[in-house]
């Protein structure tokens, strides 16, 4: 068999190409039109940075972008820490309560976000808490912990108990065993979880919509309000910037382990590939 064998049918290549076009065409359009010299959303007419300039001059949009980055960053740090702790606790404890807790974790994942949003809104209203960026962050953290725990727990399960037992066997206290052996081994999964949380939080609309105060609003909510006054090509510039922030964070998560001399990155955990 020369080159194209029985196991590599031609139509797979076509299907893959179509999937990629389907996935990326809209994104490419947004990026392209963000550099459009004209006002049109349909016709490209020369390249310019005018929409980026316009974005930068719009103080409220700028504040929203910064607010969204802030929300995502704080949510990522807190939810990753709490979720990892929860994963360690529910995996290593043999009690029935721990197993039940593990099951309950799935509930936030299957709860429609609109329900989560409305209930967060009602809760804050009943507690008399004024809506602000803080309430958005709280809602995001609550929602994100499950993702972290599930990703980290999967890794923990595949590690098995032997590593920790080996550490205990060599004289490490349970706390030292977690700190010196388990966490370093979990590191790629923790990074992967952080990536997911950042991406979820950064572009979240529904939860943010129900829990945000007046100003500054998270960027997705701000964009939505702007749309009510007609679509400006600035939206394309904002979209491109959001994409850049997300990609930047993923790049960070991919590079960090390499900088620290590790062979496996958070990206590899997510995509299932192993980088040797």
């Amino acid at each position: 068999m020369t080159g194209r064998g029985f196991d590599r049918p031609r139509f797979l290549v076509v299907v893959t190409a179509l999937v990629y076009v389907f996935l990326f065409a809209p994104i490419v359009v947004v990026v392209l039109f963000s550099f459009n010299g004209a006002r049109s959303l349909q016709v490209l007419d020369g390249l310019s940075l005018r929409w980026y300039e316009e974005f930068w001059q719009d103080e409220s949009l700028r504040e929203s972008l910064i607010a969204s980055i802030e929300i995502a960053a704080i949510t990522t740090v807190v939810a990753t820490a709490l979720g990892t702790g929860l994963a360690l606790g529910t995996m290593r404890s043999r009690t029935r309560t721990a197993r039940a807790t593990g099951l309950f974790l799935l509930i936030p994942l299957v709860t429609p976000e609109i329900v989560a949003g409305v209930s967060a809104f009602v809760l804050f209203a009943q507690l008399g808490v004024a809506l602000s960026l803080t309430t958005v962050i709280l809602a995001h953290i609550t929602f994100s912990i499950s993702y972290v725990t599930i990703v980290v727990r999967g890794r923990l399960a595949s590690l098995g108990p032997e590593l920790e037992e080996a550490a205990l066997d060599l004289g490490a206290t349970p706390w030292q065993a977690v700190r010196l052996v388990t966490l370093p081994a979990l590191w790629p999964a923790v990074l992967a979880a952080a990536m997911i949380v950042f991406a979820l939080s950064f572009d979240d609309f529904v939860l943010s919509f129900f829990t945000t105060g007046e100003t500054p609003q998270p960027l997705p909510v701000r964009i939505y309000s702007a749309l009510r006054f007609g679509i400006s090509p600035t939206i394309n510039a904002v979209g491109t910037l959001m994409l850049l922030v997300s990609l930047g964070f993923i790049a960070l998560a991919a590079l960090l382990p390499r900088l620290l001399g590790r062979r496996e990155s958070g990206v590899a955990v997510l995509t299932g590939s192993r980088t040797a």
Partner: protein
């Protein structure tokens, strides 16, 4: 490292002592009122099929499991309530459980660092330990860069460097291929002799246990079926399970008759019937295949007759399966020596007489 005896001079008589140790998981009894004593410097094996409780026994000694009942003593001290990190034992895990994020030096130094050994001493002892397992040239490698055999040796060095009073090994050679396993058996035995540490070795591989151990405890269903030197358990199994599990054994059913055994095939053969086995008792007569002689009978032998039913050439030996009666078969092993190749000697269907010296028979109830 070669001459020092590293175990602290304990007060107890034994390195490890189990007294009626029992471990239950829910309704399942993994270890059932087990009592045993292991001497200092002994190479002791727990041998049995999977699920027999040998690994649980090891985990009880290591401290990963607490006994439901009974006592476990290390150097005479009851350790039932002592967590693993305060026990003076170390384990070589079946999966090795190396720390992938640390290089070999840091893997091996892990235990010494936890016990706050002085920096200079750590350096020296780690170097010694890596030398002992012939990995000093890979000191800065990460475990992922090593072969299976090398990883196994790192696990060994990481445990031995702490000079435990007892080293626990949980099927440490299980993941290696046959040739490497044989090499490592010799290597392990050499290292054990050099460091003089008590080894408790868990395996399901009877050859491994026979080759390395000073004593073997053959386990099944959470209890010790037989405990003794390799020659004892092999030559004189006291139960059908032991005879069947260690090596190949011919188990012929029969009844005791006039101090001999009447086989179910009808033949009356002389056999060492132990005291206390009454006339008419149903027994099994166990004979090892290599003790059987085909047609080379000598005076005073127990003999039976049968037909050659199968012939399996195995290189150094040929295995003959001889049918005495429908359903009653004997396995005989004939060495292929310079003088004779057994597969040429017999044809399928040949009528042969098979004999053995009565003392090679073992009467099992």
């Amino acid at each position: 490292m070669s001459t020092e005896r590293t175990a602290p001079a304990g007060t107890g008589d034994w390195a490890v002592e189990l007294e009626d140790a029992t471990k239950r998981f829910g309704g399942f009894t993994a270890v059932d009122r087990m009592s045993l004593q292991i001497e200092r410097g002994e190479f002791f094996s727990l041998l049995g099929p999977s699920g027999c409780g040998k690994t649980t026994t090891l985990r009880l000694i290591a401290g990963f499991e607490q006994p439901t009942e009974g006592a476990i003593r290390l150097d005479g001290e009851d350790v039932a309530k002592v967590p693993p990190y305060r026990r003076h034992v170390n384990t070589v895990f079946q999966s090795y459980a190396l720390f992938e994020h640390l290089d070999l030096v840091e893997n091996v130094a892990f235990g010494l660092r936890r016990r706050k050994v002085a920096k200079g001493e750590i350096k020296q002892r780690v170097a010694q330990a890596l030398e002992l397992v012939a990995l000093d040239h890979r000191a800065t490698a990460r475990p992922a860069e090593l072969s299976g055999g090398q990883r196994q040796r790192v696990a060994l060095a990481r445990a031995l460097v702490n000079r435990p009073s007892v080293l626990l090994l949980d099927e440490p050679l299980g993941a290696l291929d046959l040739k490497l396993r044989k090499q490592m058996q010799v290597e392990l035995k050499r290292i054990q002799r050099e460091v003089g540490i008590t080894f408790v070795y868990v395996t399901h591989d009877q050859e491994e246990a026979l080759a390395m151990s000073d004593r073997i405890a053959v386990m099944s269903d959470g209890v010790i079926e037989q405990l003794g030197a390799p020659e004892d358990v092999y030559e004189h199994p006291v139960k059908a399970f032991v005879a069947g599990f260690i090596g190949i054994s011919n188990l012929l059913p029969g009844t005791v008759e006039q101090g001999a055994v009447r086989l179910s095939t009808g033949a009356l053969v002389p056999a060492p019937v132990p005291d206390g086995v009454p006339e008419g008792a149903e027994v099994q007569l166990s004979v090892r295949p290599e003790k059987l002689l085909v047609e080379e009978l000598e005076h005073g032998m127990a003999t039976v007759e049968g037909t050659v039913a199968e012939r399996v050439y195995m290189g150094t030996a040929t295995q003959l399966i001889i049918e005495l009666a429908p359903g009653a078969r004997l396995v005989a092993l004939e060495q292929n020596t310079a003088r004779a190749r057994a597969d040429d000697r017999w044809e399928l269907g040949d009528r042969v007489r098979v004999g053995w010296h009565p003392e090679h028979g073992q009467v099992l109830r």
